[in-house]
Amino acid sequence: MSELTKLTIAQARDKMAKGEFTAVELTEAHIKAMEAKRDLGAYIVETPDLAREQAKASDLRRQAGQAGTLEGIPLGIKDLFCTKGVQTTAASRILEGFKPQYESTVSGKLLDAGSIMLGKLNLDEFAMGSSNMTSYYGKVTNPWKSKSDAAKQLVPGGSSGGSAAAVAARIAMGATGTDTGGSIRQPAAFCGITGIKPTYGRCSRWGIVAFASSLDQAGPMARDVRDCAIMLGAMAGHDPKDSTSAPMPVPNFEAALTGDIRGLKVGIPKEYRPDGLSDEIQKVWEQGIEWLKEAGATPVEISLPHTKYALPTYYIVAPAEASSNLARYDGVRFGLRVEGSSLDDMYKKTRAAGFGAEVRRRIMIGTYVLSAGYYDAYYSKAQKVRRLIADDFRRAFENVDVILTPTAPSAAFGMDENTDDPVTMWLNDVFTIPTSLAGLPGLSLPAGLNADGLPLGLQLIGRPFDEETVFKVAGVMESAAGFTATPEGV
C-alpha cells in the first residue's frame, strides 16, 4: 500500500502544487493498487495506458503553470458516462464493445480540470439496483468485512457500487457516480465514504446513459466532504446541450466549508423512523443530531407526511421513463444484435439476451404503467403524488435550512440477502428516494460503525441549489464524527 493512495484529493493537490510528487507518480501508485485489487470487481475496464499518458500531459501542464482544479488527480468514472474511444457499457451486455465517439459533459469537464481517468467503474446494470449484483460484468465486492463473519461477502450498495468500492479501497482518489433514487448515497454509506447527489439540473446529463431522465443526476464520490466539494466544482455547470441543465453559476463549494453552522436549523423528519428501523441506525442518527447541537445548530422536528409513498411513486416513475429510454437498445446502430427472422424477432431476441432480469422487469413494469387504460391509474397518479412529496419538502424548508436523516435503513448486507423479492431490495432506498423525487441535493457521509464494524451513513438534504449549506453542515459533522476507519488492508 503506497502512502500516495492514502491521501485525499485536497492533500494530493496541495502536495503536487508544492512539487512533492508528480501526477505520473500518483497515477502509477493508483494503477498498481487498482491492479492489485481486481478481486473487488470494481472496474469493468482499466485504462492504465491512457492514464499514464494523461498523467504525463498533466505534469507538463503544471510545469507550464496551467494546472486545473483537479490537476493530476486519478479518478474512476462510472461506466454510465460515455467516454470517447473507451468502452461504455452501463454494465449491460447490450452495450458490450460500445465505444462512444463522444465524451459526456461531466467526464469531459473532469478531464478539462486536469484529472486522470483510471478506468470505467462497475455498477448495477443501467444503474438499476441497490447492490451492484445486476452487472453483466460481475458483481462488486464491498472492501469492508463484518467482524462477526469475516468470510461473508458484502455488497457495496448500488448502483454506483464500483465507484464506492474503488474509493473505499483506495484504488481511485474519487469517482463519479450517478444517483436516480439513491445510487450515490446508499453505496457511499455502505462503503464508508462521502458522496453527494447535487440538485437536479446542477450537473449536465449529456452523455450519461439515461435511466430515468427526470431523476438522474451525476455527483462525486470521494473520501471526504472537501474532496466532494472540489470534485463537484469541476463537474457542475450549465450545459446548453441538456435542456434540463440549470443556467446557474457554480459557487466555490470548497469555500462553503467554514465550520460555522451556528444558528442553522436542522430538520428531523418524524416520518423517517419506520417500524423496524434498527437501533444502530437510530443511534447514529441521534448522535448526528447531538453533534449539530454541539456546533450551535438547532434541531427542529419536521413532518414530511407523504414519505411513505415515495417508494411506490418512484417505482412507477423511474421504470416508466426507463422503459422509453431503453427502447433505443435495439440491435440496429450499436451494441449487441441477435439476428432474427423479422425485424420484431430481432428486437425481441436482442433485448431478451442483452438485458438482465432486473432491467427486463423494470422495462415491463414501465411499459405497463404507461399503457392505454393504465396511464391515469399509475403514471399520472404517481406524478401527482410526486408533487405532494416535493411540496412536503418545500414547506419544510420554509422553517429549516437543512434536513438530517439516515442514508439507508441498514449497513451493507450480504450478497446472498435481499435477493428473493425485488420490493424488499428496493426498501434500501427508502430514505434517499424522496430527495430524488423532489430533485433536492442529498449528501451521505460516514458517521460511525455498527457492532459488526461496518460503516453507517447519515444523509443531509438541502434546498434546491443550496449545496453550499449541505457541504458546510457535512463538514462540521465530519469533524465531529472523526471517522477514520478503513476497510482491512487499506
Binding site: V209, A210, P240, T244, S323, R328, F334, Y379
Partner: protein, 484 residues
C-alpha cells in the same frame, strides 16, 4: 359527392393529416443539417441516431415556423405546449420513440377556406397543428434479405396539421391540400413538395348513408405522394367501404397503403399490431413556453395570405373570383400579376397574364418565376402602349412574341419593327380610297344594303396598312366613307 350504392346513397367523410417538413437549416432537436442529397447517414448527429446519453435541444426557428403556420391558419396559438414521447419500435425510429406533442400542441383550432371550381369557398376546420420529429428512411429494395436504414431525415422538424373530418369529396380533399400548400408556401414554412416527401398526406376515410350524422369506422391511408393520388385513394377507399357495408360486412379500423400502379388500397402488414403508443411528457424537455410578444412579432411579419389577396384583387382590380383564385394560387404569380396590374386596368392585366403569358410560361420548362418569358415591367409597359393607342391589341400580340424572343422593351420593339399603329387620319383615308377605287362592285353591294361586306373592307384596309391602322379609327372612317 354522393355515391349511389345498391342500398341507397352514401356520403364520404374525410379528414386529412398532413405532415409538412419545416423549412429550417438545422433539425428540430439537433444541429445536423436538413438539406437533402447527402451520403447515407451523413447528416446525422448522435441525437438523431438515438445514441446513449444524447439529449434534445429545440431549434427556435422550428417553433417560430409552427407559430407562423398557426397564424396563417387563423388558429389558436398555445403559449404553453408540451412535448411527449410517442413510443413504438420501428427500423427508422432510432430512439424507439418519436418526440411529438400529444395533449398540449403548440397550435389549436383554426380554419382553412378551400376554393371550389365554381368560384365558391368552403371553410374546413383545423383541429390542431403540432411539432414532431421526422423518422429516417427505410429502403426495402437494395438487398435481398435486409432493409437499409438512412437516418439523414431522422429528426427533421415536421408540422402535423390535422383537419376536422369536414371534407365530403375527393375534390374537396384536393382543394384542401392545394390551399394548404399555397398557404405554407406563402408563409415560407414548408416547400410543399409532395413528390419529394416534404409534404405528406394521410387520409382518414369513412362513409355513411346520406342523412346520417354518425361517424363510422375509418381507415387511414398512409403517405400518398400526390394530390391526384390522394383523391384516387379516397374514392377507391370510399367505394370499398360501401361494398363491404352493402354486402353485410364490417369495416375494420386499420392503416392502409395506396398502390398508385393498381389504383387501390391494401392493408399494411407492418401495422397489423394494434398500437399502444404510451405517450408521456418527455422528461428530457421542459414545457415549451413562448411569449405573446413573440407571437405578435411573428404576426407582424406575416405576408398577405391568399384569401386576403384574392379579396383585394377582386376589389382593387375588378377580377372575378375564379381569376383572382388562379392568380393567388402561387405567391409568385400573384406578385407578377400585381407588378403588371399596379396603376393599370386590372382586367386587361389579368387577361394578358392568364392568356399569352401563362401559355408561354407553361410552354417551356426553362421558364420559371425567376426567369419569366417576359418581365412584369415590360408586360406592363406593353399594356400602356395599348392604352395610349400606340399599338392595337392585335399588334400587341406580335409585340409580346418579340419580347419573348428578344427580351427587349416593348417601345424599342415597336420602334424597330415599325409596329406603331397608324392614327394619322389622312394615311388611313388614303388607304381606304385605294381599296374603294379597286373594288367598285363591292362598294356598290354595300351601298345596296349588304352590310356584311363592311368587315371585308376593314380587313382589306388593315392588310394594306400591315395591320397598323388603329382599328377604332378605321371602322369610323370606313363608315363615314360609305355615307358620303
Amino acid at each position: 359527392m354522393i355515391i349511389q350504392g345498391d342500398t341507397g346513397d352514401w356520403e364520404i367523410v374525410i379528414g386529412l393529416e398532413v405532415h409538412a417538413q419545416v423549412i429550417s437549416n438545422a433539425k428540430l432537436f439537433s444541429g445536423a443539417a436538413t438539406a437533402f442529397g447527402a451520403e447515407p447517414n451523413d447528416q446525422v448527429s448522435f441525437v438523431d441516431a438515438g445514441f446513449p446519453g444524447m439529449l434534445p435541444v429545440i431549434n427556435e426557428k422550428c417553433v417560430e415556423q409552427a407559430v407562423r403556420t398557426g397564424l396563417g391558419l387563423k388558429a389558436q396559438i398555445n403559449l404553453t405546449s408540451v412535448f411527449a414521447r410517442k413510443n413504438y419500435f420501428y427500423a427508422d425510429l432510432p430512439q424507439g420513440y418519436q418526440i411529438s406533442q400529444y395533449d398540449m400542441p403548440i397550435v389549436g383550432e383554426g380554419t382553412l377556406l378551400i376554393d371550389l371550381p365554381d368560384g365558391s369557398t368552403r371553410a374546413i376546420g383545423i383541429e390542431r397543428l403540432h411539432l414532431e420529429q421526422d423518422a429516417g428512411k427505410s429502403i426495402h429494395d437494395m438487398h435481398p434479405s435486409k432493409s437499409y436504414i438512412d437516418l439523414n431525415r431522422s429528426g427533421v422538424a415536421l408540422m402535423e396539421i390535422v383537419s376536422k373530418p369536414d371534407m365530403r369529396s375527393p375534390e374537396e380533399a384536393g382543394a384542401y391540400l392545394t390551399k394548404l400548400r399555397t398557404i405554407l408556401r406563402y408563409l415560407g414554412t414548408c416547400d410543399g413538395n409532395m413528390q419529394e416527401g416534404s409534404m405528406r398526406c394521410d387520409a382518414n376515410v369513412s362513409v355513411r348513408p346520406v342523412g346520417s350524422t354518425d361517424l363510422r369506422t375509418r381507415c387511414e391511408i398512409k403517405n400518398v405522394n400526390s394530390i391526384r393520388f390522394v383523391q384516387q385513394a379516397i374514392e377507391y377507399e370510399a367505394r370499398r367501404h360501401i361494398d363491404v357495408y352493402e354486402n353485410g360486412g364490417e369495416i375494420k379500423q386499420e392503416t392502409r397503403l395506396f398502390d398508385s400502379v393498381k389504383g387501390e388500397t391494401r392493408s399494411m402488414r407492418s401495422k397489423e399490431h394494434a398500437h399502444d403508443y404510451r405517450y408521456f411528457p418527455d422528461p428530457d424537455l421542459l414545457p415549451l413556453v413562448i411569449s405573446q410578444d413573440l407571437v405578435d412579432g411573428i404576426k407582424a411579419t406575416l405576408p398577405e395570405l391568399p384569401d386576403e389577396k384574392k379579396a383585394r384583387f377582386m376589389a382593387e382590380y375588378g377580377l372575378n373570383a375564379y381569376d383572382a383564385g388562379v392568380m393567388v394560387a402561387e405567391k409568385d404569380s400573384a406578385d407578377f400579376f400585381e407588378a403588371v396590374a399596379k396603376g393599370r386596368d386590372g382586367k386587361t392585366a389579368a387577361n394578358w397574364v392568364m392568356g399569352d403569358f401563362f401559355a408561354t410560361m407553361n410552354s417551356d420548362a426553362k421558364y420559371t418565376w425567376t426567369n419569366p418569358p417576359v418581365s412584369a415591367e415590360n408586360l406592363g409597359k406593353m399594356i400602356d402602349l395599348i392604352k395610349d393607342g400606340t399599338i392595337s391589341t392585335r399588334l400587341a400580340k406580335d409585340v409580346f412574341i418579340f419580347m419573348v424572343e428578344t427580351g427587349k422593351d416593348p417601345a424599342t420593339i415597336v420602334e424597330e419593327k415599325g409596329l406603331k399603329q397608324v392614327t394619322d387620319t389622312g394615311a388611313i383615308e388614303k388607304a381606304i380610297d385605294e381599296v374603294f377605287a379597286a373594288n367598285p362592285d363591292k362598294v356598290a353591294e354595300v351601298k345596296a344594303g349588304k352590310d356584311k361586306l363592311m368587315g371585308w373592307f376593314v380587313g382589306q384596309v388593315m392588310k394594306a396598312t400591315q395591320g397598323k391602322a388603329n382599328p377604332g379609327m378605321l371602322n369610323e372612317l370606313i363608315a363615314k366613307k360609305f355615307k358620303e
